[in-house]
Each structure stands twice: as structure tokens, then as C-alpha cells.
Assembly symmetry: C2
Homo-oligomer: 210 residues x 2
């Protein structure tokens, strides 16, 4: 498989973690978002959405990280990301999709750029925006994890939820988000980052990181 | 099942369509977003995310529409929303998640409210914002549908993709989005709205519509 991504793209980071957890060998091909390489013809002819990650796998160029993750688990079911039990699968997806559909999109690079130009907002206003939408999901998420009595991971081993959580936490730390009242999220972060799979997937450890 | 929703909430509309397509009887319980009923203690004690739709089903209060849809198809697999073939499932999810993760979140009511207050933008600026993010997904989506040679539906019958597409198209029409160069999306919209399942799920036909 070939993963086209960018070291600091949190959706690319999702796929790196997923592939590592599954033990699937892949080639990582950097796409420079700062020079808008993903909007060039060479890239959009393969992925019309003009976004990373793109996963070239089993003869097809795949866009959209959440669809890629669901596909990976169906087409390559060893070391599954989602648990076997239908109710547990629901739990993992509820928490993962809360991040993917509520927080990530609103804080994605194109939105932050639009806030700056044409809307003319300052970096300080953008930082407040960023933390506002993070809190909107991370506060109830922390509550849900407490309700569930979550330990180091949502289930016995990291999977679908942690694949989506860790990249969002990485972003949150870049924007100085306050985790002091989020012990469950912090514990999961710590437990994941201790694992070699997460370390290999970590943004700062990619070949396109500065 | 009980579906807590709001007539014009597009994520609630997704669930109404899904339940109708599956032929699952449900009780629809309106939650008034205009008075922020979903942020009240009575609601958040059951759904900490404070959002609709909430699906009370099989003994559990379920938040997050995409996780609800995936769960519905696993727990109630008759009349499946997703096709059986793994590659077709990927296709349906790629297109559905493009809308759910890229367009919907950025144009959701809380974001539009935030643009107005505290950010102080005019309704005209907000309308431009709305159409900007719609185009960002609908243009490549139309291209993907053309590539796939899509007819009235993505596959033989409407399913996962149409469940997510139709509500976004409904919203787009409210914001006068230009569909003149989107023949595939318009054809799917027309074919779906001709079906009684989509008519029963339609926002204007709900008991909480004005």
C-alpha cells in the first residue's frame, strides 16, 4: 500500500496509526500541503477531493480517511480496529465520529485559512476558535469516557477510537488546549504514545517533518 | 425505537430516511434547537454531546448520526443501507463521509451562530461561507458520480450515500446553492424525493415543521 500524506495532517496520522496497528507494510509519500500540492492536477486527477490522506491500496486510489479506516477493517480483517461485539463497535464509532464529524472539520487547515483570508481574523481569534470547537467535543467525550470507566484504552487494545483521538490530541497540544480536567483523554494519550506503533506513526517522526 | 430530532436538522433527516428505508417503525420526538432544548440538563444527561439526533434503540441512548447509521446496519441488517460487496461499501462510504466530515460540520448551526456572534459576520458573509464549503465537496462529488456512471442512485436502490446526500442537498437549496452544473446530484435528488420513504422523512413533513 502507498499512503500519500502530510506529517502534520491529522487525518494522515489516523491512517499511519491504523496501518501500524494492523502491521501492514506501506510506503509513505509526502504531499506538501503548504505549497498546495494536493490541489495540483497530478494529485486531483487521482483524488478529486484534493485532500490527504490518499490510500493507494488493492488497485484503487482511496480518498476520505474514515471510509479508508472502515474499508481497511473489512478488507484486511486481521488485528481488527473495531471490536467484534456490535455494541462495542457502536461505542468506538460514537466517540471516533464525534471527533471526525464535529471537531476535525471545523478546525481543519482550509477553514483556518478562510478565517484569516477573506474573513480577516487575527491568529489570536483563530486560536480561540480552535480551542472553542475542541472543547465542544472533548468535554462531553471526557464525560463519556468517565461513564464507561475507561482505562488505558477504550477496550483491551487501541483501535478505531484511539486512531482518531490521538491525532486530535496532537493538534490540541499545538494550540495549547487545557487538558488539566481531562484525565481520561490524557491517560489514553500516554498509554498510546508508549507503544512503538504510535511512535512510528507520530507526526514529528515522519520523513517530511522539519 | 425513538428518534429525538429537529425537522430541519440534516443529521436528524439522515436517520429518518434510514429508518424509513429499513421499514423500522419509530416514534419521532421533536427537540427544539431554536430554544437550545438539546443543551438542557434533561437532554444532556442522556446525550452528553447535546446534539440531535439521539436514537433510543435496543436499550441505549445513541448519539452521533454516522455511528447510528453504521450500528443500524449491523444490528438490523435487513434491507441493508450499505451494499454487500466490500468495494461498493467503500464507494458509498467515501462519498457519504466526504459530506459528513467535510461539509456538514463546517456549515452546522453552531458554527453559523459563532460566525455571527462573537465573530460579527453579516448574513451575507455567512451565506457565502455556506456556499463556499458546499462547493468544496459538491464539485468533486459530482465529478466522482460522473466517473462512476451513476444513474438514479449510486447503486440499485438508495442507501448509505443517499441517506447523507439528500439532507445536504435540502440545506443547499435553502442557501440558494447553484445546482445547474450538478446533473448527477440533481438526478439522484429527484429520484429519491419521488419515493414515499423520502417523502415521509422530508423536513417540511415533520410534526415540528412550521
Amino acid at each position: 500500500m502507498k499512503l500519500y500524506g502530510y506529517y502534520r495532517s491529522s487525518t494522515s496520522y489516523r491512517l499511519r496509526i491504523a496501518l501500524e496497528l494492523k502491521g501492514i507494510a506501506y510506503e509513505y509519500i509526502p504531499v506538501n500541503l503548504l505549497t498546495s500540492e494536493q490541489k495540483g492536477e497530478a494529485f486531483t486527477s487521482r483524488n478529486p477531493f484534493g485532500s490527504v490522506p490518499m490510500l493507494e491500496a488493492d488497485g484503487r486510489d482511496r480518498a476520505q480517511s474514515m471510509a479508508q479506516l472502515e474499508w481497511l477493517d473489512e478488507a484486511h480483517p486481521h488485528r481488527p480496529l473495531l471490536p467484534a461485539d456490535i455494541e462495542d463497535r457502536y461505542t468506538a464509532r460514537e466517540l471516533a465520529y464525534a471527533i471526525a464529524t464535529e471537531t476535525h472539520a471545523v478546525n481543519n487547515l482550509p477553514v483556518l485559512k478562510y478565517l484569516k483570508d477573506p474573513l480577516g481574523h487575527s491568529q489570536e481569534e483563530i486560536d480561540i476558535w480552535y480551542r472553542h470547537w475542541l472543547a465542544r467535543t472533548f468535554v462531553p467525550l471526557e464525560g463519556r469516557l468517565a461513564q464507561l470507566g475507561t482505562g488505558d484504552f477504550l477496550f483491551e487494545r487501541p483501535g478505531f477510537f484511539e486512531v482518531v483521538l490521538l491525532p486530535q490530541v496532537y493538534n490540541a497540544r499545538r494550540f495549547d488546549f487545557d487538558f488539566s480536567d481531562k484525565p481520561h483523554i490524557e491517560r489514553i494519550e500516554r498509554a498510546c504514545l508508549a507503544l512503538p506503533e504510535f511512535q512510528r506513526a507520530y507526526p514529528d517522526n515522519q520523513i517530511d517533518a522539519p
